[in-house]
Subunit: 221 residues, 2 copies
DNA sequence: TTTATTTTTTAGGTTAATCTAAAAAATATT
DNA sequence: AATATTTTTTAGATTAACCTAAAAAATAAA
């Protein structure tokens, strides 16, 4: 069955929202991420349900069907592989690739995806630390923690970010925070839950709680 | 001004037809290449004229404006750069890349095109011997000849093909004909204008006039 | 130079994806 | 339990890109 870019984007958005909760996804939540109106979403959900890609009953919210999940994962796979390509091969910075990948993720060619994957050395994660689903659509569950949830005194490694926005990523770059950085939490300020963190054993720097919330880490043993 | 994939494809098709002639391009010619109906073309030509990308007066045919020419050339540039990428980096054969490049040519990012160009080593031609327009949209005029127009006894080098179709390219591959091959024209058969040609000094093989017409060569001094 | 044929345009519709405004259903608050 | 608020859906339009059928213009043939 033919699928449009728009339909692919809806499935991707529903998938993204589903990762955060086991509840059904609301029309309004989809509308916000799709940057469209709720009325348009209602139309599209009906169409996606007709095509068998979501389970939807009006006023009840929506969930991906197995078929829809498969499509969504294949788009996420392409998005993240292309992001790796853009950073590793084309020399883009991690804050520059998301918009381009939003376009490239819709290119349709299984052979291309396979060859790209091999060319990149079968990467497991994208430039933001997000896991890349394999060909079968299996997404390794990476159990990372938000820096904001870690206690003072702990050491950890920066494994990913919870947000792709250019402004956020550029801020991290300015702070010398990149994937793989070693973070030592020196102190958490009670006043605003901001952090003093030493990055790769350098002089501690100040990090807002808002930033810490969007940094994903793994605690060192 | 925003441009759609469809509009880009129309401009590309008008550009292609304009290369073959200095006459105005007919509605029907565009319709055939776009695989659509003449009535749809008329609608679109009016729209493209409104946007300033073509000069069009009804019943008079159409020509690209300078602005339209620039857009068309940038799409051709992207198409051919991506074809080089697919063959040189991803390991596709020359008969497998056209359809994928038809999709990739619409990806919008000047930085990406620039980096891709550099990554590929600033190629001058694509895998089919077609010249790649530079950033300024200047297309080196490659004065190749059709093999079918060459006299018996001549030696030449295969520089390109006049057709991208997979069946044609696969046939060439079967015949051991690829870019750069040295062709010695042994004999041209009067009956059907077919050729006996020696490829890279091997035993002469038989080539139909139809094939010869679609092979572009440069004569050796 | 009429008449016939071909090409192109117009007229009127369809489909996908969107919108605004109004109605209906679900949820929250008194 | 009744009322108010929020969420979602329906109704009715719009735009881009396409279609078929009919009309108009251009070109070719008689
Ligand atoms: Mn991204
Ligand atoms: Mn990413
Ligand atoms: Mn091509
Ligand atoms: Mn080509």
């Amino acid at each position: 069955m033919a699928i449009s870019f728009t339909e692919e984007n809806y499935l991707k958005v529903i998938h993204r929202l589903s990762e955060a909760t086991s509840e059904d996804i609301s029309t309004n939540a989809v509308a916000e991420l799709m940057q469209t109106k709720a009325a348009s979403v209602t139309d599209m959900l009906r169409k996606l349900a007709d095509k068998g890609w979501v389970n939807y009953q009006k006023y009840q919210g929506v969930r991906l069907s197995p078929a829809g999940e498969k499509i969504a994962l294949s788009i996420v796979r392409k998005h993240r592989l292309w992001e790796v390509f853009l950073v590793d091969k084309m020399g883009f910075n991690w804050d520059e690739v998301h918009e381009i990948a939003e376009q490239l993720e819709h290119i349709e060619s299984d052979e291309l995806v396979q060859k790209l994957d091999a060319y990149l050395g079968f990467p497991k994660t994208d430039p933001h630390g997000d896991p890349i689903p394999n060909k079968e659509g299996i997404l390794p569950e990476l159990a990372y923690l938000h820096l904001s949830d870690i206690k003072a005194g702990k050491n950890c490694i920066l494994m990913g970010v919870a947000q792709d926005s250019a402004v956020f990523l550029q801020l991290l770059t300015k702070l010398n925070l990149s994937l793989g950085a070693k973070l030592a939490i020196m102190e958490i300020n009670e006043f605003d839950r901001s952090f003093f963190v030493s990055i790769n054993d350098a002089e501690p720097i100040f990090i807002s709680h808002e930033v810490a919330k969007n940094i994903l880490v793994k605690i060192l043993a």
